[in-house]
Each structure stands twice: as structure tokens, then as C-alpha cells.
């Protein structure tokens, strides 16, 4: 869908500023009241969703040319979807689609940032956004035995693109160890695993992204799996919310936290060890408010913008919020203390939307703001379940000298199962 398709949404933005704040009903302090990192950091209204609606209309109508500030305003945004969720609490406008449409337009007119261009090239050539050799995707398997899914398995474990040498490299291994402990029939694609296309899609590149999506759909559908499980929230978000727009998936998509939660509920995983820890949990955007299933709609607008047939809007209601919390609450000794901005009101970690690649300082600023919220709780650590979140939050902690440990939930699950130190 192009930006023109969302002209109505940009036009009818009432400029109320709700896109900048968390749901007011859930506000717990004036300090942690905002939800839009871009607007909070850059202050000019252009850096808010409502400002970007004006940008969109101006670009569509030819009232604005392309310049560095335009790209700055478009891309200094993590596409976290908070604005969309806050807006949709009250009205039916596709704010996020306008933001995506702006990025598509950038690529259509070949005005993309150099960093994003390189990233897309890397994805196209090497199946990962870091232009590293393909083999990097399997390095984490060294010494770990898991079958290729083509040998036949109920579950495909999808590892995602993880940079070699980074701490997040451990996550697929951890996930597999946990699932293996529960005797799940699973396999991996190994070197044949392609990038999910999330980052190229998020920055607005469509040709490469759609090529990846279609090919992946074909590959996955041909595997005879019942379920695809991933430990990366960004990949999860793609498979759940974007892929079905381009082809039917004949399998279920789950994040590993959903799977583990089910295993715990079914009694197939039991925690033997007590973890004497006080932690808080960070909701990854692509698992939470952006983790709802795609809903197909085709139709037209009539009077007062009514959609015929009626459209079911994705408002962040059915994101994956409880499963990770269930897991943490079932680990003996672990105390979960919630931050102020959680679930659909979560403050983004700062990594998404191509920001980490193009605007590292903004990514770190956003993560630092999240760490301020953590600091106010007096906890031992922050837990998340997305390698991008973990990486960016860790980078920010290191950058600021913050003494806060960043965990993936898999670390705590594994420790709870086997008594490993966290």
C-alpha cells in the first residue's frame, strides 16, 4: 500500500497530541509520561506522528521537496507504533501506515539514507543486515546438535540475524536448549535460513523486502511444519503482522515466550532452582503492540470515512504481554516489579526502524531514557525478549556506566531450570 492510500488518515489527524503521551489513564508520574522517543528527543513537532502527517500531505501534494531535514524527520523514528496505538485508543486512523508509507516513498524516489542503502544491500547479498558472511547465522550452533527442519519436524526454530561475537549470539542456543529439555520436535534451517526482511521493510525498501517475504513464505510453507517459533521479537512481528499480507501461512507463528509459557502451563517445563532476583520487564514493540496478527481488509471509504466492509483495526490489544510475565512469575524467588510504561504503553528501546544503524546516538538516548525508568525501581536487572532490545539497552548501559544488568528472558528461564548464574 502506498502513502497515497493513507491520505485520508493523514488529513484527518486532529492534531490532538495524544500520539506523544502514554494512555493518560495509565499514567503514573509526570516524569514518565511521554511515549514517543522521537518527539521527546527532538522536540520540534515534525518529529511527532502528527507532524509527520503534515509532512506526508506536503510531500504528496508537492509542497515540500526532499532535503536532509525531511529524511531526518522521517527516519528519526523507531517505528515503535506507540503513536498508532495511542491514537487508535480513540479513533480509527492508520498512523503507522502513514509513517511506513513515507519511508516507502523515500525509497521509491531513491532518496534513502546511505546507511540504509548499505543495510538493504547486505540483506540482499548476505541475508543479514551487517553484510557478514552467511555462515555467521549458524555459528551459534557450534557444538550443539539440532536437526535440519527438512528432515521433518513439527516446529521450525527460526534464529534470526544475530551478529557474530555479540552477546545476543547465545540466544538461539539457549532457546533450543530449553525447548530440547521439553522434548520438542524441532529443527532449524541452518545456513538456508534467510533474513526475515524486517529491517529492510522497516526502512521502507519494498522490492528486496517483498522478495524475501515471498521466498520465505514459500520455503516455510513447504516444510510441513505446524509452528514457527522464534526468539527474536522483530522477526516475530514480521511473520505475524506483515507476512500474511503477502501470502497465506499454513503454520502457526509463535514467539519462544509464548511457547515456553504454554509448556509451563502444561507442566512440561518445571523450574527447579530459586533465583533470588528482583527484575523488571521491558515489552519489545514488535512482540507487544506491533505483535498482533495481520488482519486482511479490502474495501472503500464512504461517508464520514466509514469503511465498507467494516475494518478490524489492530490497536495493540492482543499483543503478547502476559506470557513473558507469566514465565517470570513462575520462576521461584524471582520478583517482578513493573515499570510505569508497560505493555501497550511501553517506551521503545530505541533500536527499531533503522535507527540503530543510522542514528546510534538517538538509539542510545532512547535506551537511556528507558534505563532511567528502570533506575527508579531499584531492581537488579531488566529482562526483555528481543535481541535488538537487549543489544541497544546494553549498549546504553555501558555508554552511561549504568550498573544494571540486561537479561534476555531465556537466561532466567535456563537459570531457573538448571541453576546457572545470571
Amino acid at each position: 500500500m502506498t502513502l497515497e492510500n493513507y491520505r485520508y488518515d493523514a488529513t484527518y489527524c486532529p492534531r490532538c497530541s495524544n500520539c506523544k503521551w502514554i494512555d493518560h489513564v495509565y499514567m503514573k508520574s509526570s516524569r514518565f509520561a511521554m511515549i514517543c522517543p522521537s518527539s521527546a528527543r527532538y522536540l520540534f513537532d515534525t518529529y511527532s506522528a502528527q507532524g509527520r502527517m503534515d509532512l506526508a500531505l506536503a510531500l504528496l501534494d508537492g509542497h515540500l521537496g526532499w532535503g536532509p531535514k525531511v529524511l531526518d524527520a522521517i527516519y528519526k523514528c523507531t517505528l515503535c507504533g506507540a503513536c498508532d496505538t495511542m491514537c487508535k485508543r480513540n479513533i480509527d486512523l492508520e498512523i503507522l501506515e502513514v509513517l511506513k508509507g513515507l519511508r516507502e516513498k523515500v525509497f521509491e524516489e531513491r532518496k534513502e539514507l546511505k546507511t540504509h542503502r548499505s543495510m538493504v544491500k547486505g540483506i540482499k547479498r548476505y541475508d543479514n543486515p551487517w553484510s557478514r558472511p552467511r555462515g555467521v547465522k549458524t555459528g551459534w550452533r557450534e557444538g550443539f546438535s539440532v536437526k535440519n527442519v527438512k528432515e521433518g519436524a513439527a516446529v521450525l526454530f527460526y534464529a534470526g540475524c544475530l551478529p557474530e561475537g555479540e552477546p545476543q549470539y547465545r540466544l538461539p542456543r539457549l532457546a533450543l536448549k530449553i525447548l530440547t529439555e521439553a522434548h520438542i520436535d524441532l529443527g532449524v534451517l541452518g545456513t538456508e535460513e534467510k533474513c526475515c526482511g524486517s529491517l529492510s521493510y522497516q526502512v521502507g525498501e519494498r522490492d528486496v523486502s517483498l522478495d524475501i517475504i515471498r521466498k520465505n513464505i514459500e520455503t516455510f510453507n513447504g516444510l510441513g511444519i505446524e509452528e514457527l517459533v522464534t526468539s527474536c521479537s522483530m522477526c516475530y512481528g514480521m511473520f505475524k503482522a506483515v507476512y500474511p499480507a503477502y501470502g497465506k501461512l499454513n503454520f502457526k507463528v509463535s514467539h519462544v515466550v509464548e511457547y515456553i509459557d504454554r509448556l509451563i502451563q502444561d507442566g512440561r517445563l518445571r523450574f527447579n532452582k530459586t533465583l533470588d532476583l528482583k527484575v523488571t520487564y521491558h515489552d519489545p514493540c514488535h512482540l507487544g503492540r506491533l505483535g498482533e496478527s495481520y488482519v486482511h481488509w479490502e474495501g472503500k471509504r464512504t461517508e464520514f470515512g466509514r469503511l465498507v466492509p467494516p475494518k478490524e483495526f489492530r490497536r495493540g490489544t492482543f499483543g503478547i504481554y502476559e506470557p513473558p510475565r507469566n514465565i517470570l512469575r513462575s520462576i521461584p524467588g524471582l520478583e517482578l516489579v513493573e515499570m510505569e510504561r508497560i505493555k501497550e504503553n511501553a517506551w521503545c528501546c530505541g533500536a527499531g526502524g533503522g535507527v540503530k544503524a543510522a542514528y546510534e546516538d538517538f538509539a542510545l538516548w532512547t535506551a537511556s531514557e528507558r534505563l532511567e525508568e528502570v533506575k527508579s525501581l531499584g531492581v537488579d536487572g531488566l529482562v526483555t525478549c528481543c535481541p535488538h532490545c537487549e543489544q541497544n539497552l546494553s549498549d546504553a548501559a555501558k555508554h552511561n556506566g549504568a550498573k544494571i544488568k540486561i537479561h534476555d528472558i531465556l537466561d532466567l528461564v535456563w537459570a531457573g531450570l538448571n541453576g546457572m548464574e545470571v
Binding site: T11, Y12, C13, P14, R15, C16, S17, N18, K20, W21, D23, H24, V25, Y26, M27, K28, S29, S30, A33, L43, F44, D45, T46, S48, Q50, G51, R52, D54, L55, A58, H63, L64, G65, G67, K69, V70, D72, A73, T85, M86, C87, K88, R89, N90, I91, D92, E303, F304, G305, R306, L307, P310, K311, F313, R315, G316, T317, Y321, K343, E344
Partner: protein, 524 residues
């Protein structure tokens, strides 16, 4: 011709390059208001520059630079209303985004706020301390300062009064760059606790029933009244978007609806409730609003509308919404409930208790964009401010005009509109909200509808309190020539007509104004 470079350099020297920009992609986001799109922003221009000052001293310097180079400017904070859109070329938008100081004096029940503090921020900090603010119907995301100096209608006005009643001391940068401190602020060390005087109260120059629309300089901080809750009370929110809400303890907060057969009966009951000095919220709500709040999607709203409109036409519900608060103790709530029941019975109303989750909409309202749920746009007309009876009279007459403009206005089957009590029923404001779709043709019709409403008020000798800048030249001559005083005041305080020109009062219509809201209202 672009924004003058010499002025730009001077502005950059004040705030630093990071906080000023004349790039069109920055300015474009300041060229359109939300409420009043297509009407109040007619004749709008792209701003020439946007600046983000951090404190009063920077604002003083900015205003002096603007004065030196004759640059029009507009102060904006949360920028919802279309009156913030520039009418002059190369306007400097002074965005007060960085000024977000909030301090609460718990003992003396006030809060010092700068322009970028939202109602929701103030509300939650106040509630933790056993206090609360009268959040505006415009929404919890609205600037507290901007709303207090502009409108300030909230559900709780029955007890707490309109925005202007709730302003204490103020700090105000005049168009000549001087800082005016009103009330106790002018006394070193006295603080912001009191707003009147010394002597004649210059807060009277900030607003009437509505604002001076930034036409007399920039208010940089004010103290606002807070009000006591029975005890500190941080609400426990429930639900997930879009159905989020909270309830407050039913010992202390109770919501009711009373249904009457006629608006006259409704109004009589409002008077009785006021005389009994009970209640915190007392207002007659249009039927459409109930469907807007019940629905969680546009489709749901339209389904409810289609189902209800026949019912409404037949039964003509006239509903008063009441909140009782037991400020002194739960026994006060019980007492007020008994009194309310007595009144309902005596006045022929059918009373029922409704869920206490109405408190979320009252204390942390999301009304603004909730009001846009039906789709299209809405406009409020007939905004008079006098007695409850007066509201009913002009609203009923106003509905006759509204019917003549259906379409493009949505037929909401209303007999009158929203009537909201203030100061225990000593005053009331009435309002007709009307929905329509955005188009050139519709905007022209809506403009005409608005004008007809005002002319009707003048003809029937009602008081239309909501005098915007565009009306003064044709309402003034019929209302004691007040418009001439406004112009003199404007010229005395802003002789170069730079502070949001053309909005507070039109001094010198220019060629570029020919399509503006002002010109269209004053044609013929």
C-alpha cells in the same frame, strides 16, 4: 521572500542552532490546527521559522528580536486549536515545548506550571498528593497553562468554575519584551499563591470567556488551583487499549444519570441540584456523546447511532450526568445521594447509578480525539455563557438553524445540546457540537452555519460569550462597542501587531487575509 536571515542569526544566538529552524519540513508541522481545520485556519500561511526557547529570559529576547525586525509570532504549546495557525507570512512559531516545569504546593493547593505540562501529568502528580485538577473536556493531553488562559471547560466546573477562576499568579512576557508579574508574583519571595491585582486585575486582559489567543504576548508560567480529594488516591487503571479506564472508590465517587422527558425538566433539575449545593459534575449531555464513549471503533459508533437515532427521535431523552464526591467523608456521598434522589423524584426524573469508571473520563479525559470518533470533523457553536435557562433558550433556537444545515451536518436528533453548570449553577455554558465531512463546500456551509448562529444570538438578544477575534467587528457594535476597546488594548500593548496578528482582534486586514476566517465572517 524567506525568513530574514539577520533575524534568524539573532534567534540562533539566543537558543543555539539546535533549537531553531526555518527549514520548511520543520515549519510544515506548525501550519495546521486540528480543531477548526478548514475554518479557523483558512488563509493560513506556512510559518517562516520555529524556535524552542527554554525559559522566560529567552522568550523576552526572542520577542524583542521579533519586534526589532517586525516579525509576527505565535506562542504554541500542545497546539490543538486552529487559531494557532499563522495568517501572516514568515511568522515565527514560538513552541514552548521545553518549558515543562511542574511544582505542587500541597498545603496551599496549587501547582506552578509552565506551558508544556499536560493535564494528565498534573493530574497524576496531584492525585498522589490528595489533590486534583479540573481536567478539560479538550483532553488530558492538553497544556494546563494554555487551557486555563483560553477555555478551561471541564466536567467538574459545577464545583470548580471555569478556567479563569482557577488561575492564580502569572508571569507574562508582553509584546515589548517586559515581564509582567500579576498578583503575588510581583512580590519578591511571595510566590504565585494569589492572582488578583495589585489593584485592577490584569488577568482580565488574558481572557474573557475565551482567550486573547496569544494576541497580547506570551504567558510563561502560572499557578493554578488544585482541589482536595478526600485522601491521596492514585487510581488503579484497568483494561487494555482501547478499553482502558479506572474507577475510584464508590464510597466517595458515584456517578448517576437522570433522564427527563423534556429539556425544560432537565434544566429545572439542574437548578435544584445547584441550589442544594451538591454534586461535582452536573451537565446535560447530548445523546450522541454517549454513543461516542460507548463505542471503541468508528463502526461501533455508527451501529449505535443507526440503532439509537430512531429511539432518540421518539423518546427524546434529556439526560443529566451527575458525579457526587464525598469530600468530607463517605457520609457526605450518602447524604448527597439522598438529596439527589429527592430531587429526581420531585422533578420527574428517572435516576440510575452508572459505572464508576466514568471517573477516568472525568479526571483523565481522552475526549479530544474521542470526539473525532464518528469521523469527519466537528465544530462547536452557540457557546454562550450566562444562566442555565439562557443556555436552553439559545440552544433550542440554535437547533433550528442547525437543521437547516443538515446536510452537511450530521443529524444527531438533538433538541438542544450540551449544558454544563458552573459555580453551583450560578452560570452555565451551552454548546452545540456538529459533525461534518471536510470539503471546501462543506467548510463554506459550516462557516455560514456558525455565522448564522452568532447573528441569531444577536437578533434574539442572547449573550454569545465565545467571542473569537473574527466576530468582534460585527458583534462589537451591538454590544457596547467593546471591540473598539479590544483594538485599543491591542495597539497599546502590541503596537506593531506582531503577537498572533489577526486572531485576538483584527487591526489591519491585509490583502493576504481575504480568504481568512476573519474576512469570510465579516463579508456582507
Amino acid at each position: 521572500m524567506g525568513f530574514p536571515k539577520i533575524a534568524y542569526r539573532a534567534l540562533e544566538d539566543v537558543v543555539g542552532p539546535e533549537f531553531v529552524s526555518s527549514d520548511p519540513s520543520i515549519c510544515i508541522a506548525y501550519s495546521r490546527g486540528g480543531y477548526g481545520t478548514g475554518i479557523y485556519d483558512r488563509g493560513k500561511k506556512l510559518p517562516g521559522c520555529v524556535i524552542l526557547p527554554k525559559d522566560t529570559e529567552e522568550i523576552q529576547t526572542i520577542v524583542r528580536i521579533a519586534d526589532r525586525y517586525k516579525i509576527p509570532y505565535i506562542p504554541v504549546s500542545t497546539y490543538f486549536i486552529g487559531f494557532c495557525t499563522p495568517l501572516r507570512s514568515n511568522t515565527l512559531m514560538i513552541h514552548l515545548r521545553r518549558m515543562n516545569r511542574l511544582e505542587i504546593d500541597e498545603k496551599n493547593m496549587s501547582a506552578l506550571v509552565q506551558p508544556y505540562v499536560s493535564y494528565s501529568q498534573l493530574q497524576i502528580e496531584a492525585m498522589k498528593r490528595g489533590l486534583f485538577t479540573c481536567a478539560t473536556m479538550a483532553g488530558a493531553q492538553i497544556s494546563v497553562l494554555a487551557n486555563h488562559i483560553s477555555f478551561g471547560q471541564g466536567q467538574l466546573t459545577h464545583r470548580l468554575g471555569i478556567g479563569s477562576r482557577r488561575i492564580l499568579g502569572m508571569e507574562w512576557v508582553l509584546p515589548n519584551g517586559e515581564v509582567l508579574k500579576t498578583g503575588s508574583v510581583g512580590i519578591p519571595g511571595a510566590g504565585y499563591f494569589w492572582g488578583e491585582g495589585p489593584g485592577p486585575d490584569l488577568r482580565g486582559m488574558v481572557r474573557g470567556y475565551s482567550s486573547n489567543l496569544g494576541g497580547l504576548g506570551i504567558i510563561t508560567q502560572i499557578a493554578v488551583k488544585l482541589f482536595p480529594l478526600p485522601k491521596p488516591c492514585v487510581p488503579e487503571p484497568q483494561g487494555i487499549t482501547p478499553r482502558t479506564t479506572f474507577a475510584l472508590s464508590p464510597d466517595t465517587f458515584r456517578w448517576y444519570m437522570i433522564n427527563y422527558p423534556t429539556p425544560e425538566a432537565c434544566v429545572n433539575a439542574m437548578y435544584e441540584i445547584s441550589k442544594a449545593e451538591i454534586g461535582a459534575v452536573v451537565m446535560r449531555t447530548p445523546s450522541l456523546w454517549r454513543n461516542i464513549r460507548k463505542a471503541t471503533s468508528k463502526e461501533e459508533f455508527w451501529n449505535l447511532y443507526e440503532t439509537d437515532k430512531v429511539k432518540i427521535e421518539q423518546s427524546k431523552p434529556n439526560v443529566i450526568r451527575v458525579l457526587l464526591i464525598g469530600f468530607a467523608s463517605p457520609k457526605q456521598t450518602d447524604y448527597e445521594e439522598r438529596v439527589l434522589k429527592d430531587i429526581a423524584e420531585e422533578t420527574g426524573g428517572s435516576l440510575r447509578r452508572v459505572p464508576d469508571t466514568g471517573s477516568a473520563d472525568c479526571f483523565q479525559p481522552s475526549y479530544t480525539n474521542c470526539a473525532f470518533r464518528p469521523g469527519g470533523l466537528f465544530i462547536s457553536t452557540k457557546l454562550g455563557y450566562d444562566s442555565i435557562d439562557h443556555a436552553l433558550i439559545y440552544l433550542k433556537e440554535g437547533m433550528k438553524i442547525k437543521r437547516a444545515f443538515m446536510p452537511p451536518l450530521l443529524d444527531d436528533k438533538e433538541e438542544c445540546g450540551w449544558i454544563c453548570s458552573y459555580d453551583f449553577g450560578h452560570h452555565a455554558h451551552g454548546e452545540i457540537t456538529s459533525y461534518y465531512e471536510l470539503s471546501e463546500e462543506n467548510s463554506a456551509k459550516v462557516l455560514e452555519f456558525e455565522k448564522q448562529c452568532i447573528l441569531q444570538d444577536l437578533e434574539m438578544k442572547a449573550f454569545m460569550g465565545f467571542q473569537y477575534g473574527a466576530y468582534h467587528d460585527f458583534t462589537g457594535p451591538r454590544m457596547g462597542d467593546y471591540h473598539l476597546l479590544l483594538k485599543k488594548i491591542k495597539m497599546a500593548l502590541d503596537q506593531n501587531d506582531l503577537s498572533n496578528p489577526g486572531r485576538f482582534v483584527m487591526i489591519d486586514p491585509k490583502k493576504e487575509d481575504k480568504d481568512s476566517y476573519y474576512s469570510l465572517m465579516n463579508r456582507d
